[in-house]
Every structure is written in C-alpha cells, then in structure tokens.
Symmetry: C2
Subunit: 260 residues, 2 copies
C-alpha cells in the first residue's frame, strides 16, 4: 500500500520524531511505500493567502475560497500545494502525526489543511438535490482511502476521559476526524493517542511502539469510526439534521455515529 | 475599558474586515480604548519554532514548552511575542474575530495562541496539592478579564444545531472557549456567530451590526459561560474528573457547565 505520513513537530530530537522514524521503518519493512510530509522540515507555509494563487490579479480582492477554486481548476496553485494534493491522491492511507497543542493540531498542520484543501479539490462539488447535498461527509475526493491520527498529549489520560476536565479526547478530535477527514471522504480510523508523554521512559517507548505497530499492521482491517454518511438517509436535506428516528436520545458529536 | 481585537482575515475588502471596522468605531465612540492585532496585516509568524527564543543555543534540542518558559522568564522571547503578551495584559476584554475554517480558527490565529501562550505566562504555574492543580481553568494570568469570539461561517445555521451534521457550534468552539480562553483565566462570553455569510446583503449587514453592537455594549454585563472552575470543588484531584454528584447524568463538553 501507499502510505503518506503528514507530520508536524519542530524538533528532530523529540519523541514524535522517534515515533515517526519507527513508523516509517516498520511500514517499509512490511513492504509498503511511504512518503512523508515533514512540515517543519519542509518549512511549510502555514498561512493561506493570495500568494498561493500564482495568477491572482494583485488589484483584485482575494477570496480565500473562490480563488482557491480558480487556481485549482486552472493549474495556477502554488507548487507546494499541488505537490501535497498529489501525495494525498497517491496514498491509500494518510497518517497525521502531531503533538496536541491547545487541544488541536499545530498551526503549521492546520495550514496544510487550509491550503491543500482547495475548493473543487476537497469540497464544493457534487450534485445538490432533494436527496444529495454535495459530495461530502463520507463521499468525496478521498473516498476509498483511510486516515488515522497519531497524537501525543502532555496531560494525563483521565483528564481526557468522558468527564475529565479537558473534555473527552474523542470530542476534542471530532472537528478533525469528522470535519476535516470524513468530510472529503476518508474513512477515519480510531486515533492512537499517547498521554503524559513528558514522562516516557525506554520501557514505555518500547510498549508504545508495539501498540503503534499493531495499529499499522491493521490499517486495512480496523473498523473505521461509524459516522453516518450525509447522503445515506440519516439526515434531512437541506437542513442536514439527523432524522428524528436516528439516535433519537442523542445530540452533539456522538449522535453522528451509527452504533447499531 | 481597554479592548484588544485579535483579528484574522486575509482580505481588506471582506465582510470580516468591514465588521472589524464597525466594531472599532463603535467601541471608540463609546469611549473605550481599542488596540487591534490584525494578524495578516502584521504578517504574524504563525509557526512556533526555536527562532522564537532569541538566546536558544542552536546546538541544543528545542523543547517547545520548556524553551518558551526559559525565554519568557529571561526576557529573551521574540519581540512580537512579548508585544502581544503586553497587549493582552493591557486589555480588560479580548475579542477574537475570525472566519471558521475547517471547524476552527485560521492557522495564523492558532499560531498566535501557540506562540503568545508561553509556559509561565499562560500555563504551568500555581500550587499543586491535594486541592489545587495549578492555576488554570478559571484561574490564571487572565483572571478578571473577559473574552469573546466573533465568528463567520459559510454554512447554514441548522447544520450547526444540536443534531446538525457539522456538530453543534458550542461543541465545535469548546476547545477554544474552554481550552484556550477559560484555561488561562478568561471569563468567556457566549460567541457571536454569523452563518451563511456568503449571502449577506446590505440589510442583513445592518442587522448584523445592530446585534453585534448590542453585544459590545454589554461586554461587562453579559453572563459568561458558566464553566466549573478546576479548583473550586467540582473536580476530583488529581484525576480532574467531575465529582459523581456534579451533573451526574452528563458526559462530554456540556458536563462542564454549571447550569444550577
């Protein structure tokens, strides 16, 4: 399989870097092709702006969305954006690896999504009708591909539990899982999250690698998070609210999972 | 009062820019002092890295957290970081205004938090004991100050409702409200969110300004979101999970609000 690792950590002598190297070695030893987008090492441009559109008339106002569509369709996107789009299309699996900073991904990775996810590439296409509201949430550019987060957190695991002060990790990651990965069609695997990583000794590092390798070995067979597809009948259209007989007792993020 | 607006949108001819100008004029006309951090205009550095620490030995590994502590304490932070810290301390109220991109703030603003929120400035201090787990979640540097989000979204309001496909807007914003603002001590006001902003005509713009001005006029009197303070008795320490008699029927983000 073709596997892309999109990785964000500023320090080569870090736990994240060591884990990334372990993952690459393990995947290659298993016969997979691996590409890595090491965003800090690439000096990835984090900020979406008009310079991303090479033919944009400097006297015209910049529309982040519509201008990305024009640049995507006309082949005038910044080269770094086009390259990442190619890598993501090449991949069968995409792993996003990052430290949890302020309850989300580092800014440099947020900027990867903002810039690579052009209008027409990752959103803004597909039929709009009474039964279909664009190709998104389970359909789209990345249909047939899978994605997984590999996340390090400094805090303690109970702080991220169902009633922990930080909020449950699954809810913290929902805007990424559902809004950034399932949205353009990825099947999203449960994340691999490590806690209290400031206290990781050699024994726990080995244990962590063992667990992570098991996750890598089962990329094809792990059940994805069972989100309802937008156009599969669970939602009223165009309000895009869950039909009254779907998880009738639930609201919030957890309502969007088909646990039947 | 002193009011800081931290603002992220790349285009001066945009709805967000027009709203920002309206807010500034309205606040100044009411006698307030206003500073603005227009992150795109400032060419704000979005990416946290070792260059933020002016005296960092280039031969030593970079620790994003500990090195920010050292730089903060020794006065060797990058000047742009120190300036934003000063502005945030000057302010009685901070308004964060941004378009919702992929269910969060733009990368350039995420980078504001990552860089300005140094260890020792926004986290990592206060007593650790059986009854107190650091000054955070309701206590901290910004105690006594208030913060509010002003957010534009392209999507429809029902898509962000309790059972809408995007997830409820209050849950989408929880990692910001609770994790980035309440964490270092801000009282967090309910957000002002505009939907379907691609379709805003002059009449709706006027209506929007009227609503927004009403929110600005009541910054001092609006009830903040009633999050439980971490050290106020609602949480077990050190697991930092809600005590069993606190919202016993709830889990997830909504459990952390005191609706009594």
């Amino acid at each position: 399989m073709n596997i892309l690792i999109v990785y964000a950590h500023p320090e080569p002598q870090s736990l994240n870097h060591a884990l990334k190297v372990q993952m690459i070695d393990h995947l290659r030893a298993a016969g997979h092709s691996v590409q890595v987008s090491d965003l800090y090492e690439m000096d990835w441009k984090a900020v979406l702006d008009r310079h991303d559109m090479m033919s944009k008339d400097p006297s015209e106002p910049f529309d982040p969305s519509l201008d990305s569509k024009h640049a995507y369709e006309s082949g005038t996107q910044s080269i770094d954006i086009a390259k990442e789009q190619e890598k993501s299309l090449w991949a069968d699996h995409v792993i996003f690896q990052f430290p949890l900073w302020w309850f989300s991904m580092p800014a440099i990775m947020k900027g990867w999504f903002e810039r690579v996810y052009a209008y027409g590439f990752a959103y803004g296409y597909g039929e709009h009708s009474d039964t279909h509201w664009g190709d998104r949430y389970g359909e789209g550019r990345f249909s047939g591909k899978r994605a997984m987060l590999v996340v390090t957190a400094g805090g303690w695991e109970p702080h991220y539990s169902a009633r922990g002060v930080n909020g449950p990790i699954d809810d913290i990651l929902f805007p990424i899982h559902h809004g950034m990965l399932f949205y353009p069609g990825f099947q999203v695997l449960p994340p691999y999250v490590m806690y209290r990583v400031g206290k990781m000794d050699e024994a726990r590092f080995q244990q962590t690698c063992t667990e992570l390798f098991a996750r890598l070995d089962s990329l094809e067979t792990t059940d994805p998070i069972p989100y309802f597809t937008q156009n599969g009948g669970a939602y009223d259209i165009p309000s895009l609210t869950l039909k009254s007989d779907i998880n009738p007792q639930l609201s919030g993020f957890s309502a969007h999972m088909d646990e039947r």
